[in-house]
Symmetry: C2
Subunit: 600 residues, 2 copies
Amino acid sequence: MEDKFVSERNLKFLLHEVLAAEDLSRLAHFQDHDRQDLDMMLNTALRISEEMLFPAFREMDQQTPKLDQGQVRVHPLAREFMRQSGEGGWIAATFSYDEGGLQIPTVLDTACQFVFMAANLAAAAYPGLTKGAAHLLLSYGSEELKQTYVPPMIAGEWQGTMALTEPQAGSSLSDLTVSAQPSEEGHYLISGQKIFISAGDHDGVDNVVHLMLARIKGAPAGVKGISLFVVPKLRPEGGGLLPNDLHTAGLFHKLGYRGCPIVQLSMGEAGDCRGWLLGKPNQGLSYMFQMMNEARISVGLQAAAVASGAYYASLKYALEREQGRPVESKDPNQPPVAIIRHPDVKRLLLFQRAVVEGSLALLMQVSLYADLAVHGGEQDKQRAAQLLDLLTPVAKSYPAEMGIASTSAGLQILGGYGYTEEFPLEQYFRDMRIHAIHEGTTGIQALDLLGRKVRLHGGRALEAFEQEVRSTMEAAEGVGELAGYAVDLGQALELLRRATTAKLSLMGQGRVAQALADACLYLEMFGLAAVAWQWLKQGVTAAQAVAKGITGGEAAFYQGKLATMRYFFHYELPKSQGLARRLLEDDALTVDLPPEYFAD
Amino acid sequence: MEDKFVSERNLKFLLHEVLAAEDLSRLAHFQDHDRQDLDMMLNTALRISEEMLFPAFREMDQQTPKLDQGQVRVHPLAREFMRQSGEGGWIAATFSYDEGGLQIPTVLDTACQFVFMAANLAAAAYPGLTKGAAHLLLSYGSEELKQTYVPPMIAGEWQGTMALTEPQAGSSLSDLTVSAQPSEEGHYLISGQKIFISAGDHDGVDNVVHLMLARIKGAPAGVKGISLFVVPKLRPEGGGLLPNDLHTAGLFHKLGYRGCPIVQLSMGEAGDCRGWLLGKPNQGLSYMFQMMNEARISVGLQAAAVASGAYYASLKYALEREQGRPVESKDPNQPPVAIIRHPDVKRLLLFQRAVVEGSLALLMQVSLYADLAVHGGEQDKQRAAQLLDLLTPVAKSYPAEMGIASTSAGLQILGGYGYTEEFPLEQYFRDMRIHAIHEGTTGIQALDLLGRKVRLHGGRALEAFEQEVRSTMEAAEGVGELAGYAVDLGQALELLRRATTAKLSLMGQGRVAQALADACLYLEMFGLAAVAWQWLKQGVTAAQAVAKGITGGEAAFYQGKLATMRYFFHYELPKSQGLARRLLEDDALTVDLPPEYFAD
């Protein structure tokens, strides 16, 4: 088997056979993008990834960013890929023509980004972050700000970032303290510190543009007093770029994701760090949430992509490594077999594949909702927006959490070799661990889901989700062996509904802490149901293809899909039962427990 | 909170209150060791760990071993701690007086080793490996071999190792090819390669003694043709030490466990690597299994110890880091609270603590069986040996697998900081990942448990285990709130029995591959039942102490125990239900699946 990090066949299966993405070309906004056009773009992403990104995957981990006299120096691929992303139109791909973009559907962009990320997580982050920041500028910036900042960003010449976190606040955005003092010239003077800023400084670009949350002097306490600013490293002035009193105060050394620098920034040490307000004062958090929701889906995609790279590395090893004999014929005079012949190795591989392809299917599904929410017909729009809203924490967290377990399973397949730097599994294992943390930890996603999303619009988003699942169940009922799996999915959906009702009832009684204490378990259960739905949906498509009597490699592909679906229903979905057991209890263990009980 | 890596209070709780280890002093072999004596030794281990091992924990990870002109160079603590372990009698602590030991009970030795390992996994490995090798020499070596090798080993001057794995064979010991050619002088000429040899070469000792598996020329194929040899790096000859044609061919660079070198060895490149047969020809594997079983329990202990270090680092952070407010009173004008006040953080801490203390309890329980199996009364001996045999794969794998999840949870508590090298969680996360791999992967342990152990002695070991669990259930039934947990444990035991019967029935039908395909799930379910048993046992002791009306810090300790027990029963044990769902199916997915289905 050649080195591989994604399955082109699977991406096209999801794009065309499961989601029928080419149907989007019926919508005015996407009319230029027929199936051939979508495939061409995906093929280009694959080629760039194979030729440029994947070969530097290990090297970027080893040659980590350095802080050298206040300037972060990174691997030359950062500059090379930023330029390529600008020239090829990748950064602005989903933007409209008048914004300098290509009006590509998000669902296709998701497929292409997945390829880049799977080939080289760190390299893909630079243009990815820039795109998010540019999109925010386009959404809320004045004409002047847009004209100044967006063109060099989408050309890949300037880096964009998202600067939220502060040392004292962490996940608690209401405690942000970076301050903004209005000046008479219209800009604000920014001062304070930000931490954990991805790509927050590097020498692969000519400037760095931070989309930064700060508090205007006198603003209300908490999240209601947060505003959004553009704060560049170098400020455009008189046709040139001047230092903006924004310094890199530190570079974090990290477990993984090492090819992309994460920095600490210090603003206004000399009292002259200038920022420009985006949109209205004190509305910063709601603006930032647009970018954050995109970023959360992007983090889910990164996790699925790392899991994909790990899966193909494990599969290659399992196909090539000969060791041991089948348990039923252990004759030592017979030659050993490839370890993929051992059922336990197949189980581990199926687990990896179920996580990778189940996560990707869910992420492409929500990306399709993102397209419909903005460009769909009037009827579709609202429903798609609600589904996107509801599923965003799930599409972020399921891949992030299960990706940790699935890369660990992949490492296990290689045994002792998996623990060494001779094989890439140890890097995938390290790279994976960030996704459950950044852009909102799993705990934050869980509170968002159970504390906000399931109650939004009077619970209509959740109802819409249940309808989507049921329509897949109905399709499956007509397809021979799938009927039983439709029943299993129905039971999982019923457990989820019961858990939801139980928790909402606690909230109704004002027992909010108790209602939310096990939000992470609820999120996990929701993830199992959502991914089971995506697996059944893929199963229906595959079973229909098999029924047509396809043979050869294509038949093996569809049978592999069906086997992985079966794996998910037999090994993963039953975990809902243990979760339901807890979620349906009314027991306040973690709420009532006094911290003193942790002494000793 | 001061820096901490183990709980002295918990160790004494397990040793004295739960296991009543001082009762061992009624046995002739242990008569010199009363409670005071046991405590003195444990206190010494704690002091050495605090003063010598823990301060170098991070440094040994950063200053990794180097291969320099064929010699591995390691951190100076390796030499220092080997000497200390020799002088303090730690290496030979459990050996009999006439073997140069202290006749310490294994259960105490386990507690002390846990302390060393939690303080510094890598440093503790050097004497730990030496002890295992010395024990094997004492068990099967000739007088001459014992007198030559054991004294410098237990003095900490020579390193002992266990040299099994070969590049082409991995877990498949029947494919070992290192060869041994008899010579006329009585020794054998060894040639071939070994890989993944922990502490296989370093400059912290004056010699390295490998207990090595090899195949005598003409021996039968498979495991029946494997013999055990002593193969030193330098051979004692004429009062000096001569090179033995044994070379370090490579040093592995690893994800974690970096302070201890893992090497590749090459024997007999010049045709003069001499080895001495231990015991009889072709009996090597059964001899090695004595050491391997000890080593497996030791690996479980290492995993529990790393999880312990991680737990206390997370707990310290959670107590000191202030961030956010309770969900029911989010007033941003109120100061933030320590994150340990958030229920989700408490849940993560309880998970860590449940894994650490549940694993340690099980490991100390099997260590007590190890003492009774050798030195107990006639009635106890056989039963204890069977329980030890049965539980060894569980006591190795539960800590190894759940330790990955629990250190990951610990890292999560620190958020972004957990992912950086500023805090030790990232190291614990890396160090932890080895334990599910070495000394037999989790897959190998699962085959050992389901394929051999539950059937041994006509199933009597499993019956003895069920009796032990039931006697704890009976004790719990008399203790107020614990009665319900006894019922839960009974149900888990019943599920385990049903799964066992189902799998043994498949074996009886000759469907061995199908019976063993989900052995890892069976092992996981067994681990949940075994650790739930240990938690209920601790719960009974704690509830009895509380009932006596204890107050203050001691009361908080017992209440913390009870809370952690409740956590285990509410959050962990219910996972048995999902596992049972799969284990009770007769579905051959992973057996039948052809590798071709993984194409694409």
